[in-house]
């Protein structure tokens, strides 16, 4: 019906510009092209989702179905590439590096591809169980795809890491020292996910599969902190006045702790069969 992605995205964007105004503005300037393309993808994907769902089975629905597929690929690619280009530390905070700069490194392109294959892998793993409950064969179909996506993702992860060693040497060094624990968690999650998938333990496979990207993100964050990655900015230097940061922090924390239980209730009711 609605996409949880948008809600999270709004949360992240608002949290960022409320607490770290300059960080938000600098990323917006430096990553103008990837963010605009992501935006395009998000709008068309979100609308395609609604239009396809309520549009019946005609041509209109099919066309929007295709739009949905294409935009679902573009968005993770540009977001992955944009995020990785920050790690190279070569982007200026005022956007003067140029629109195309975020895409002009092997690392960014590898990371974009990795993000796409990773989302495909996660989606397939998460759907295995639901698909199996609908139809045994459908579950198998998703399992095969999840396995294929896992192998591709693993290979791309290795390539991306090699690219990082040359394109973002500082980050690479920090990843293999400070962030090492998280990298190990990520690799373990990847291997474990593959094995659980092979054993058809779909529920635990979900958790293991989720660990892989989460580990990378946390490790990355730890390795890069406090540098913003654009210009010479550091995160604390971009913060709003302390009173605002505190208030925003409290609101977001309280908000999340109210929202998560509600979300759990939602999923429970959702999985209950209709009376």
């Amino acid at each position: 019906m609605w996409e949880a992605n948008h809600v999270w995205l709004v949360f992240v964007l608002i949290g960022l510009f409320s607490a770290f105004p300059l960080a938000f503005a600098s990323y917006s300037r430096a990553l103008a092209l990837p963010l605009s393309l992501a935006l395009l993808g998000i709008v068309l994907r979100g609308s395609a989702f609604v239009f396809r769902q309520y549009g019946g089975n005609g041509r209109l629905a099919r066309t929007w179905g295709r739009v949905f597929a294409v935009t679902s690929t573009i968005t993770p690619f540009v977001l992955g590439a944009g995020a990785a280009s920050v790690a190279t530390g070569r982007l200026a905070a005022d956007g003067s590096s140029g629109l195309l700069a975020p895409f002009q490194s092997p690392l960014a392109l590898c990371a974009g591809a990795l993000a796409v294959s990773c989302t495909a892998y996660l989606a397939a793993v998460f759907l295995c169980r639901d698909a199996e409950r609908v139809h045994k064969g459908l579950g198998e179909l998703f399992r095969t795809r999840a396995l294929a996506a896992a192998v591709v993702t693993g290979a791309l992860a290795v390539v991306t890491l090699i690219a990082a060693a040359t394109d973002a040497p500082l980050l690479f060094a920090a990843l293999t020292s400070r962030g090492l624990v998280f990298m190990v968690v990520s690799i373990a999650g990847g291997v474990l996910g593959l094995w659980l998938l092979w054993r058809r333990a779909y529920r635990t496979a979900r958790i293991a599969a989720g660990l892989a990207p989460t580990g990378v993100l946390w490790g990355w964050w730890l390795a890069q902190y406090p540098a913003l990655g654009v210009g010479n900015l550091s995160l604390p230097g971009t913060a709003a006045p302390p009173a605002v940061v505190l208030a925003v922090g409290i609101i977001l924390f309280a908000g999340i702790s109210c929202v998560i239980p509600a979300l759990v209730v939602l999923f429970r009711v959702f999985s209950r069969p209709p009376a």
Partner: protein, 442 residues
């Protein structure tokens, strides 16, 4: 080729006009939905339940589009106005954080409501809709305080172009907050009421005059007609606060070129910037002074109080203001018309509004008219604040991105929004298929 400022402003205008319509319907629909479901539970009448289910479906589509267009806006803030965000977004951070939270709660409970129809007990199900209705009002209110702060920035300490200290809840204490929030929330209920009533009025004009349509029409109409006179009172309050906090905006709304005692109220007319006066307007002598200060000879600030570079586009602001007030007044007149039918009906004359063609036509026009008034009102507050993005602190020219070629974004945005609007209309027409079978046979 457009310059960056024009491109960015026009893109913002399209995005906000698109978003505000869905946001407003998203605020109002849950209240109608809850009302219909409650009646359905109390009376066991399947027609009410059918209406509630149809409105829930419409709410879901509206909410989804509203969420997408809202996400767009959060990106656009940074892409189009990076300097504004870098300097000031901390000042209204609390407003947006609270809005995000209210919006999230609204989203979750709408999901529960939508998928809970056959999974929860009727009364439990009804309660899952309450946070949707409350969350909608709250999120619209919170986000409006951020705009109120841009109109009357308070509670910050600036040093070297940077905010060094801020009261987190400053947007809530801005003098413009009270009237702006109240005006916006009432507008949401008013617009939704008339939009819903218009859908059923069109259905009736096409010959569908069953109980389903009559109740759909009545529910929307009552919400809109009750909100209309209240909106006039709140509007009056809002205007008075504008006159105190932003006299130049007030002067632009009324097309008042020169500061004067005993200022007239001007209806219509085209502003002649060179002469500093309206041409072809109907003037009610001393009425503006009387309305603003309860004194027919009170001095009202004109546009000449500030240099020309600090004045907004009077032609646009005055036209939009008159449009909004005119449509609002027409809604009050529609209310009087309705009361008259109701009174005659009580006196024993058989009056069925479903047979009154002209009345139904008026209600049918009321739906789009309400949206026109909504957008006109938004233009008054936004264009009326120009050339400032944050009143007296930052000019819009200083806020805009210096990235080359913003016009490309503008054209892309215009094309996409047109595509979305067309598809949406096709889709909503498909949903509006008249009363569902179970409601007719009941």
């Amino acid at each position: 080729m457009l310059d960056n400022l024009t491109a960015a402003r026009e893109q913002m205008a399209i995005s906000l006009s698109f978003h505000i319509i869905f946001a407003v319907l998203g605020v109002g629909m849950p209240w109608l939905m809850l009302y219909a479901e409650d009646r359905g539970i109390r009376t066991g009448d399947p027609i009410w339940t059918a209406l509630a289910r149809r409105w829930a479906k419409a709410s879901a589509i509206i909410f989804a589009i509203g969420a997408v267009s809202g996400t767009v806006l959060s990106f656009e803030f940074g892409l189009l106005w990076p300097n504004f965000m870098a300097t000031y977004s901390g000042a209204f951070g609390v407003s947006f954080s609270l809005e995000a939270f209210a919006f999230f709660a609204e989203a979750i409970f709408l999901g529960l409501y939508f998928y809970g129809w056959d999974r929860l007990k009727p009364r439990t199900h009804w309660w899952t809709g309450v946070p949707v209705a409350v969350g909608g009002l709250a999120s619209a209110g919170f986000v409006t305080t951020a705009n109120a702060w841009m109109n009357a920035p308070v509670g910050i300490v600036m040093q070297g172009g940077k905010i060094v200290a801020a009261e987190p809840f400053a947007p809530f204490t801005a003098p413009t907050s009270g009237p702006q929030v109240t005006h916006m929330l009432l507008a949401a209920l008013l617009c939704t009421g008339f939009a819903v009533a218009a859908v059923y009025a069109v259905g009736m004009l096409r010959g569908r005059r069953d109980a389903y349509h009559r109740r759909g029409l009545a529910s929307g109409l009552v919400m809109g007609l009750v909100a209309a006179p209240l909106q006039v009172i709140v509007g009056d309050w809002a205007v008075r606060v504008v006159a105190q906090t932003q006299p130049t905006k007030m002067a632009a709304m009324e097309g008042l070129g020169h500061t004067m005692a005993g200022a007239p109220l001007s209806l219509g007319g085209i502003y002649d910037a060179a002469a500093g006066q309206l041409r072809g307007a109907i003037e009610i002598p001393k009425a503006l002074s009387l309305l603003l200060a309860y004194d027919p000879n009170a001095v009202v600030t004109g546009l000449d109080a500030v240099p020309p570079a600090d004045r907004p586009s009077v032609a646009v602001v005055h036209l939009c203001f008159d449009l909004m007030v005119g449509i609002g007044t027409a809604f009050v007149a529609l209310g009087v018309w309705t009361l008259w039918y109701w009174w005659r009906h009580r006196k024993g004359t058989m009056v069925r509004i479903s047979d009154r063609k002209w009345y139904l036509r008026a209600v049918a026009i009321g739906g789009p008219a309400a949206m026109v008034a909504l957008i006109a009102g938004w233009i008054v507050t936004e264009v009326g604040r120009q050339p400032w993005i944050v009143f007296h602190l930052m000019r819009t020219t200083q806020a805009v991105s210096d990235q080359p070629g913003l016009y490309v974004y503008f054209y892309a945005a215009a094309a996409i929004y047109t595509l979305l609007a067309v598809t949406l209309v096709v889709l909503l027409r498909r949903i509006a298929t008249g009363a569902p079978k179970e409601a007719v046979s009941a």
